[in-house]
């Protein structure tokens, strides 16, 4: 088990190095640079600014300096947020994105498993049709539409009630988180519901379930121990990557609900060619994704002993 974990970790480090290198050179090949602004700079002013950021050095030298800093965990200072270190940006804003992401994943996982099991139990009956209709809706409607529509609905509800049921936007308390987390988790919830449904149906028709029934085991026990536990495995497999995807992909929801998460900085950095922030957030998100995949692999070994044997 330990050698397995170590091997995966080593692979992870190489992956992250590759992400960092590819991003670095791709970014420098995009036309334009972070210093370009509405107001043109004289050559002298530009040289002053370039020297300040070390952009006057050749690319290869910048790369070596960059890698050195990366190993020390220092991403440098943002070009657009001129007095802020990228580390500070990540430290201050990632927890917000992570909180929102974890909540969304919890909604998605709990909802997905429950709805999926329900549709499988009542397959081809009314609850199944109804839920699957919403599932298709949840998968096909993009999150910015859902976000905008749900916000608008909330405004309507608030004005109908004459008081604020939930805040329309912002961040800070539990009530601020509820709606954005639901919206953010909805797509994944729909996806997980479908996954759970098909995996559950497969289990329901399996031999060991029939055997269990024949033995006369109580229904609740068969359902929990034999059906749910086996059907949930594929859901757990995709959960790791979904956690990373949700946490890193909340940009639109963060924008609509004015949430100070990292997603906004990530997207803005790319638009403004803020080199240090692009590198910092990409490498951070990349490492996070790699880490989540490793965690899932290890967890899988605990849930399904067959994986460990191989």
């Amino acid at each position: 088990m330990w050698s397995f974990i170590l091997k995966r970790l080593a692979q992870g480090v190489i992956t992250v190095w590759f992400i960092a290198t590819a991003t670095f050179f791709a970014m420098h090949n995009v036309p334009g640079d972070p210093l370009l602004n509405d107001r043109a700079m004289t050559a002298a002013i530009r040289a002053n600014v370039e020297a300040k950021y070390g952009l006057d050095k050749p690319i290869s030298e910048q790369y070596v300096i960059y890698l050195g800093n990366l190993v020390r965990g220092d991403f440098g200072i943002s070009f657009t947020q001129e007095n802020r270190e990228v580390n500070d940006i990540i430290r201050e804003h990632f927890p917000v994105s992570a909180t929102l992401g974890i909540l969304a994943v919890l909604f998605a996982a709990a909802g997905g498993v429950l709805w999926g099991a329900l549709t499988a139990l009542y397959r081809n009956r009314m609850p199944d049709y109804l839920i699957m209709f919403f599932v298709i809706l949840g998968i096909s409607v993009p999150s910015f539409v859902i976000a905008a529509v749900s916000q608008l609905t909330l405004v309507g509800v608030n004005s109908a009630l004459g008081s604020t049921l939930l805040p329309v936007a912002g961040w800070g308390t539990l009530s601020h988180m509820l709606l954005p987390a639901l919206v953010l988790g909805l797509g994944t919830m729909a996806y997980l519901t479908r996954l759970m449904r098909s995996s559950m149906l497969e289990v329901i028709g399996s031999d060991y379930v029939r055997t269990a029934k024949a033995k006369g085991l109580p229904a609740a026990r068969i359902f929990t121990k034999h059906q749910l536990r086996n059907a949930i495995l594929p859901v757990i497999t995709v959960l790791g990557p979904s956690i990373a995807a949700i946490t890193t992909g909340g940009f639109v929801v963060e924008l609509v609900f004015a949430i100070p998460g990292l997603g906004r900085y990530f997207v803005q950095a790319v638009q403004q060619l803020d080199y240090t922030v692009i590198m910092g957030t990409t490498v951070f998100y990349g490492a996070f994704l790699v880490f989540m995949v490793i965690v899932v692999d290890v967890l899988y070994g605990f849930i399904d002993p067959r994986v460990r044997m191989q």
Partner: protein
């Protein structure tokens, strides 16, 4: 199927008990989620802000607002953007500032005098920093020297170039103490000019000229203006809280001298978002005091009988030609053909349909002041007449002059915002229809568009220019051959001559005549094709008085705002 052979009753029984079990799990999940959320919200408190007493809080005499963007930082010596200007305009004050109508009024300077060779500012003795110490002439000397210091790397250093030696210092040729600014006493600031600068009073209202105190600056160890407690304030409000990316709190400055400004006890910036729909929703929910309205929102706003206001933000948009050697757009007949084949009012009224936009008639926007009256009134621009027949004649002339058989595709460089995309598509269709020209649209993000403009990879570009200071020169010198923002590289001795007069002529009437010539030349020589002047529709909570939207200066100005009693 196997299932169908089983007795129906047993299957139903199984489903019922399993369903019950599932319901139990659902309840359990809900409980766990609720618990987790409470825990998370406990952990996350402090990273937000947001919570507020609604748009207008009469009891605490405070309001809640949004910012479109967070200022990158608030160091006036290095700021370049509207977001910083918006905040600094509330928490800092320069030598001069603006009244409600946008006219210059005394700020830290009580009175001033502009001469041919320099200027003198007499500072008031009741202007204080937020720690209670007086604002002195030395604070301006220190701040301005920092701007030209090559080590500061200020992108706006060029705006100080009318001051003696400023350019040479930025280029690293002279030490910073040679800058032509000095403190004759604590309350008297002396400026020496590089060349006559009759508009210097308008210049010093700009953020780059705000003061900074040396001892405080040094105490911040390079983190000056990065956080609320890393800046010293001398404006009507003080930044008491700044949660990056989330919120800010501006509190009334007890040391501020002017009773005519700063009526609110607190301004709470609870949200930072560019999403206009989210802002509209917040406004409808009575969470913020004002919001912008874009074209699709106007019918609903009218239905709700909101009082819709509008203002010009000062920016003029135009099609800029590439005048570089070897470009088709260098040919004057070609440019004339395009000029005659379009009419900006069609773009504004039929395509963009933004209620607050107006068709641009000249390089100089309608709000620019002349000598005593509006420049537009004193020197009306040439009336543009669309004439497709004449346009085709000029196009034919151009074709012969250039020795072309057919027209190659013309590259139209454009930004990727909805308005630019729409405009670019409009011109593509228009010139195809009227002149049979093929325009290839090159859609780029902001930085890429600038990169291509600077290197000259375009024939025509959708471009714009906003004012830095309240003087016609902020537009007038744009197409001088030495201006680096002249990215189409228009180069004419006649234009350069008029710009030189406009820069240094002391007689305001003669100076305005030079601008009139620049206006005429930019039309006759088809330097650019004006498109529109940008404006915004907005709505303010009826309980709030005195909110000002400015063309020059902080775009949204709450310094004169108060709650109706």
């Amino acid at each position: 199927m196997n299932g169908t052979t089983k007795p129906v009753l047993s299957d139903d029984h199984f489903t019922r008990s399993a369903g019950k079990q599932l319901g139990l799990y659902a309840l359990l999940a809900l409980g766990v989620l609720a618990g987790l959320m409470t825990l998370l919200s406990f952990l996350a408190s402090g990273s937000g802000g947001g919570a507020s007493g609604g748009a207008i809080d009469v009891e605490n005499n405070s309001i809640t607002i949004t910012l479109r963007q967070e200022p990158p930082q608030l160091d006036s010596g290095r700021s370049t953007d509207a977001a910083s200007f918006g905040v600094l305009g509330h928490v800092m004050e320069g030598l001069l500032s603006y009244d409600k109508a946008g006219r210059l009024i005394p700020g830290v300077a009580e009175r001033w005098e502009i001469r041919e060779d320099g200027a003198t500012f007499w500072l008031r003795d009741n202007a204080f920093w937020s720690d209670g110490k007086p604002v002195t002439a030395h604070d301006f000397v220190f701040a301005w020297r920092r701007v030209v210091d090559p080590e500061t790397g200020s992108q706006y250093a060029f705006i100080t170039y009318p001051i003696k030696n400023a350019e040479a210092i930025t280029n690293g040729d002279l030490p910073i103490h040679t800058l032509g600014v000095s403190a004759a006493s604590d309350t008297q600031l002396e400026v020496i000019f590089e060349q006559a600068t009759p508009y210097f009073d308008k210049l010093v209202a700009f953020i780059t000229f705000l003061p900074a105190r040396e001892d405080f600056f040094k105490s911040t160890n390079g983190r000056y203006a990065a956080d609320a407690d890393m800046l010293l304030y001398n404006g009507p409000y003080v930044l008491t809280e700044w949660v990056h990316g989330a919120s800010m709190r501006w509190t009334k400055n007890p040391y501020y001298w002017n009773d005519e400004k700063g009526f609110l006890d607190e301004i709470n910036v609870a949200y930072i978002t560019t999403d206009v729909n989210a802002k509209l929703n917040l406004f409808k929910d009575a969470q913020i005091a004002d919001t912008d309205l874009v074209a699709p929102m106007l019918p609903e706003a009218m239905e709700r009988r909101w009082h819709i206001d509008r203002f010009m933000d000062g920016t003029v948009f135009f099609l800029e030609f590439n005048h570089r050697e070897g470009r088709i757009t260098r040919n004057k007949n070609f440019r004339r053909a395009l000029q005659l084949a379009q009419d900006p009012s069609e773009l504004v009224y039929k395509v963009l349909k933004e209620a607050a936009y107006i068709p641009a008639e000249s390089l100089f926007p309608s709000w620019i002041q002349g000598a005593g009256d509006l420049f537009r009134k004193q020197h009306p621009p040439i009336k543009h007449q669309m004439n497709i027949e004449k346009a085709r004649e000029h196009l034919e002339l151009a074709r012969i002059e250039l020795g072309l058989d057919t027209w190659p595709p013309i590259v139209l460089l454009s930004g990727d915002t909805p308005v630019s995309t729409l405009s670019a598509e409009y011109y593509q269709e228009l010139f195809k229809r009227n002149l049979g020209l093929e325009l290839r649209i090159d859609l780029q993000t902001f930085k890429q568009r600038l990169a291509k403009m600077t290197s000259g990879e375009f024939d025509i570009v959708l471009s714009g220019w906003g004012p830095d200071y309240d003087d016609a020169l902020t537009f007038g010198d744009l197409f001088s051959s030495w201006n680096l923002n002249n990215r189409g590289r228009y180069d004419s001795a006649e234009m350069d001559g008029y710009v030189r007069i406009a820069q240094s002529e002391l007689d305001p009437v003669k100076r305005m005549q030079a601008f009139a010539e620049i206006q005429r030349l930019s039309y006759e020589d088809v330097v650019v094709l004006p498109m529109y002047e940008r404006g915004w529709s907005f709505v303010v909570d009826p309980r709030l008085d005195g909110l000002i939207r400015r063309t020059v200066g902080p775009e949204v100005d709450y310094t004169y705002a108060s709650i109706k009693k």
